[in-house]
Amino acid sequence: MSDLRRPADLTCDEVRELAGAFVLGALREEDAAAVRAHLDTCPDAHAEILALAEMLPVLAASVPPVEPSAGLRDRLIAAAAADLEARAAPAPAPTVPSSSMGAVTPKAESIEGGRSRRPWSVPAWALRVAAVVAIVVLGGWNLLLQGQLGDAQAYERQVANVLAVAAKQGSLTVVMTPGSAPATGLAAIDAGGGMTLAMRDLAKPSGTAVYEAWMIAPKAAPVPLGEMSIAGDGSAYLQVGGVPATPGLVVALTREPGPGATTPTLPIVSSGTATASS
């Protein structure tokens, strides 16, 4: 029950009394709605509401600054690219109701998008390709900014190979996000077990150290896939077979003291999870 007797009929004094709780979001929705209803119709502008709300940034500024992980940006961009692809996608498969393709509805609530609701339905291939496109576009863009056009082209060529695999029916993609190092990359595993992996921003290993790629199936020991040799621009490329196209498979990169490692040396430099397709 509400802590107000008649939430739909607040007086100006009651609204003033609730102003602090209202701006802090401490009212239950029915009471907050009553305040909003009052503000919508009241001839008094209730300047106190705004005056109090202006303190919210001060509260927020009192929070100690913390940096998100570098992987967050990659996940966001990949998700946005997938969303973009979904909006532009042609008519969906017959099993998908056409109404679900409305990318955005004009409802005010959807200003926030939604974690649980997906107002569209996308063929899995579109998601895969979109994620790849995001990495190509942004990877190329960032490198261009650094004046490394030649290197960018090399990386793009590698990614183009990954893209070719990702586009095949039954393929999985793996977005490699940074672990102990800021390295990122992309892999695709085709239905026949062929995997292509392109990485960038890898630091040149010192001495005999090498980068080793691993596949880690659920409840199984890591299996070495091969060494990745680093090009001058920090990119690396690997093409191997025998990788099961199983969603949930983890692909990881470690730095090993020398070639031929049989168990990975922590920490993991970069890793990603194979994402299911249709």
């Binding site: 802090l24 401490a26 509260l59 500024a61 940006r73 996940r75 955005v104």
Partner: protein, 209 residues
């Protein structure tokens, strides 16, 4: 305190706002680079708020990603008059973070708030460039104007996601007193920042219901 604190430029449109709007326009055209730009600009602030509320790095990242995706999807419908892009974004971050921790508390009786815009979104701009202009000293000054019980009530609400009824229960305090603490606390912060007495807003109140 020495000199009276100079009034805050509480609602100024700055070059930052204009730049944000330009970026938003590009976002509404589906430019991933623009989203990347907006992300870089506010990632620390957005994540810090989400982390302070959730106390969970992975949940906080989910919250920030969701908030940015909301901006990405709805940039075209964003109404300029509503306030700065930063207000919009950070309000969504706050709202989603609170939602996330409320879901984590199974005992909390709360409606599904996903369909309700946060209160701050229904108001004119409250963020503007304020947060960016606030130095640590100004923030300390404002917070030091709070009594311990006012600070407790405000933090339980803003960072803890508790309703006033829940705060009253948790602190064994009458509901009317909780309301007053939140309201008078915010007023005290404002007075500390502006040096205004603002009798029209704060007159005739005590810490009693």
């Amino acid at each position: 305190m020495s000199e009276p604190t100079r009034p805050l430029p509480l609602r100024v449109t700055t070059a930052g706002d204009d730049a944000d709007r330009a970026v938003l326009a590009r976002i509404s055209n589906g430019e991933l680079n623009a989203l990347d730009e907006l992300y870089e600009r506010y990632k620390t602030m957005a994540y810090s708020i989400a982390y302070r509320i959730t106390d969970d790095a992975s949940l906080a990242e989910d919250v920030v990603q969701d908030a940015y995706l909301g901006v990405w999807r709805n940039a075209a419908r964003y109404i300029e008059g509503r306030g700065s892009v930063k207000t919009w974004l950070l309000s969504i971050v706050h709202h989603r973070a609170i939602d996330a921790i409320r879901r984590r508390r199974p005992t909390t009786e709360l409606p599904e708030r996903d369909d309700v815009p946060p209160a701050t979104l229904t108001l004119p701009d409250v963020w503007g460039e304020v947060a960016a202009n606030l130095d640590a000293e100004t923030v300390r000054t404002a917070l030091s104007a709070l009594t311990d019980v006012q600070r407790e009530a405000i933090e339980l609400a803003y960072f803890g996601g508790l309703t006033q009824v829940e705060i009253a229960e948790q602190t064994s305090t009458p509901l009317g007193t909780v309301k007053s603490r939140m309201r008078l606390g915010l007023l005290a912060m404002r007075r500390a920042l502006t040096g205004e007495a603002e009798p029209s807003i704060g007159a005739g109140e005590s810490d009693r219901p």
